[in-house]
Symmetry: C2
Subunit: 526 residues, 2 copies
Amino acid sequence: MIAWKNMDTLTAYQELQNVERLDLRTAMSGENGAERVKKYSVPMGEGLAFNYGARAVDDKILEALAKLAEEAQLTEKYAALYNGEVINTGEKRRVLHHLTRGQLGETVVADGVDKRAFYVEQQEKIAKFVQKVHAGEITNAAGEKFTTVVQIGIGGSDLGPRAIYLALENWAKANNTLKMKAEFISNVDPDDAAGVLSEVDVAHALFVLVSKSGTTLETLTNESFVKDALEKAGLDPARHMVAVTSETSPLAQNAGYLAAFFMDDYIGGRYSSTSAVGGAVLSLAFGAEVFAQFLSGAAEADALAKNPDLKGNAAMLDALIGVYERNVLGYPSTAVLPYAQALSRFPAHLQQLDMESNGKSVNRFGEAVDYVTGPVIYGEPGTNGQHSFYQLLHQGTDIVPLQFMGFRNSQMGSDVVIQGSTSQQKLCANVAAQIIAFACGKDDEDRNKYFAGGRPSSIIIGDQLTPKALGAILAHFENKVMFQGFVWNLNSFDQEGVQLGKVLAKRVLAHETDGALKVYSDLLNI
Amino acid sequence: MIAWKNMDTLTAYQELQNVERLDLRTAMSGENGAERVKKYSVPMGEGLAFNYGARAVDDKILEALAKLAEEAQLTEKYAALYNGEVINTGEKRRVLHHLTRGQLGETVVADGVDKRAFYVEQQEKIAKFVQKVHAGEITNAAGEKFTTVVQIGIGGSDLGPRAIYLALENWAKANNTLKMKAEFISNVDPDDAAGVLSEVDVAHALFVLVSKSGTTLETLTNESFVKDALEKAGLDPARHMVAVTSETSPLAQNAGYLAAFFMDDYIGGRYSSTSAVGGAVLSLAFGAEVFAQFLSGAAEADALAKNPDLKGNAAMLDALIGVYERNVLGYPSTAVLPYAQALSRFPAHLQQLDMESNGKSVNRFGEAVDYVTGPVIYGEPGTNGQHSFYQLLHQGTDIVPLQFMGFRNSQMGSDVVIQGSTSQQKLCANVAAQIIAFACGKDDEDRNKYFAGGRPSSIIIGDQLTPKALGAILAHFENKVMFQGFVWNLNSFDQEGVQLGKVLAKRVLAHETDGALKVYSDLLNI
């Protein structure tokens, strides 16, 4: 029997606060530090390891966290989720994104359909369509192949697929599997669509319109923008567009699209990269086999997250250490720092994933909670960030926990030796160095050159950023966020906080405003 | 006589803490709210206004902030800075980036040179070179025109110029002044250079190598990478490269470059966009006249920042309200939210500008301070952010002050009417709506749909994001950060916090490691 309880009512949470804190600087020094780094490592699937040697925990704290995981019934709640319970209490929906990449538990039947079978069916439909596009069997009206795919979507229909495309674009080039370039139009700012269209050969572009409800204003507006451009170029929009939507949306049975691929209400936007939302654009760009590899990596990480033993469960560990940092140590933000240029937009995806899921003040029953929840998430790739905001991370007045990622090999394999090392070695040397600099600091009589240390981090280490590895990393963070939501007793799967702005924006456009809103509207000439 | 004092020793700061706090939700409601928005607006130059109606201040708090500005001698310190005093105490350097765009005070002579004249001379040298490139007088060895400019630099040599290029690319297209496309290589990750080069026609590419010292490891490594690629393509690197560096650097008098343009030690990387660091690449991309417009906008904002009357000085107001939010209200981060897709990377530039300048724990004399300093800065363009992390901003447990920007007109002028409004109107309606939603919130019996409000924001409003407007916005934030550094008694112009990581990375590459650093190095196969 699952009990959904606020974190501050759990005995283990009370106990956690009384466990002696770790002096990270001391713990990470000398041979003791070496032992920690060797010991505090757990597999994440696909040859990846989650190394938490430099997080501010020790065996005693981990023991307390394990008790918290047990009392909060994290494993049971995860099972309830993937077995189809209505975990999204606010919207009264199941939460089934895991089924897009594997069958973790029981068969889930919803609306009379085996949902795993449904998601697989959509993947197969996409794969067949994509194959025809790549083979030149589905072409533009002139019988010419499509060369570019342009995703039109916003939020979860944009950030995840875009981050994944960028993460694998160079890998695909190096592996001769870049079938079509992908571009993305998201913002209602007309310069977004106009700018992208000015760079794209529209006659050979296939547009993927993504909107679950078929009513997202930004996306429908950008669709019209694109249709206008196609018509002005003498092209038939219906020959250049596919839809990704729910079966009940107005886009589903619509002659305006070459094809429609379906997702459903059980997959939230920010968790939809492994559904048709990511599947269509990524399969068109890289081939369906590559997308399948990506899914298999995610499936492997999902399976590892079932492990009830905290020390063998990377996602759960990452989640609980994060809760400890947020609620016991009081750190308000977390930085995501991948040492891979390919992951340049991955922090932006995690920002949505985390902040939209757990940036909440009420529990899953709509009652205010008395503790802080989701932190602010931000980040940029290393080494770029080192030359930017790391100054504050090292010597600022606040401590920011860090989530590093690093890979032994580059994606493209092209490199150069300068001062006795390759660029890839320099990249890896920098991330290793940063972990120690943050943890151990440096004494100096000149306080301006003094580093206090004690700044915690973890690192995900892999061989190479492949589709499989990326899938495992994505699922790791999805599951981390899910576990944190369970600990905080939140509903991590709705987003009521986005509604008020929409309502007020409609009022502005209808000129039904007064007070300050009217003044701002006037200032902006609306 | 200027007195450099810690903030907590100032009488005005003590008084500020005792001033009654504002109930923003009430203050922004009804006609009172309308009056605030009309009243709390100040010109920023170039037709821009800084509107702080929705920040958590009122006349009493503003009066206390004005006293703080006076006691902290902000106007006097700004004058000392632009008149050439050694404000960068850590590195014992003057701070002269304002002179790249205008003469604000006395003639500054350093190293026997009138520095304003020196910066102007570099701009003119760049303009002449650029004109020859655009006219086809300087070409590749085959006598063909260069079509692309590729900046090689990191940190301030990358983030600012890149953000500005992206901000003006569509404007330049619409105004027929996009002379060359620009690309950027920054990361030591070899996939960065390899990825960019795989997209660029190197035979028609001109590379701008930017390193003040001529010793930045990432940049020199990427230069080698590019030279390799040029040589492999049968091209002479010396015909494809220019350098931006200091006169004393090894790159300065070097036959390996078509030309060298100079900056100096008085301009920090993050303040260098208006120097040759931004000037070369942006003039090549858009023409020197466009870059000159950008500088004139910055100069106008710089002049406005001299105003000793707080209520007429947008940069000083923004700075002091920020200090109030950080030190009195205790908010740890600030989000930058431009409603313009063109500003997609501007938050990343401000992240460096702010966090690298003021993310410090010691004052300008190297003594630890007892108050928090620079906040975490992050952001994404709207409306995209609304579909991402705004959930936390609206309903999370922490309050995040917001810095909006909005423009009445788009850059490209291409638009579409859907449901009775243009995309541009929808964009503007959304930012107006968000300000009110954050400030006023919404009651609801369902706590899940309840918005507490009281979340402060300001907005910079302009007609259009032109080069001049962008220059004024850039200078606004530079001056804001400078004023905050003055209040906190920091040296905002050094970055000792980036040194330790460099030292340790060298040790890793030399295999001179032990303890935890050795284990990480082994795990990463270095």
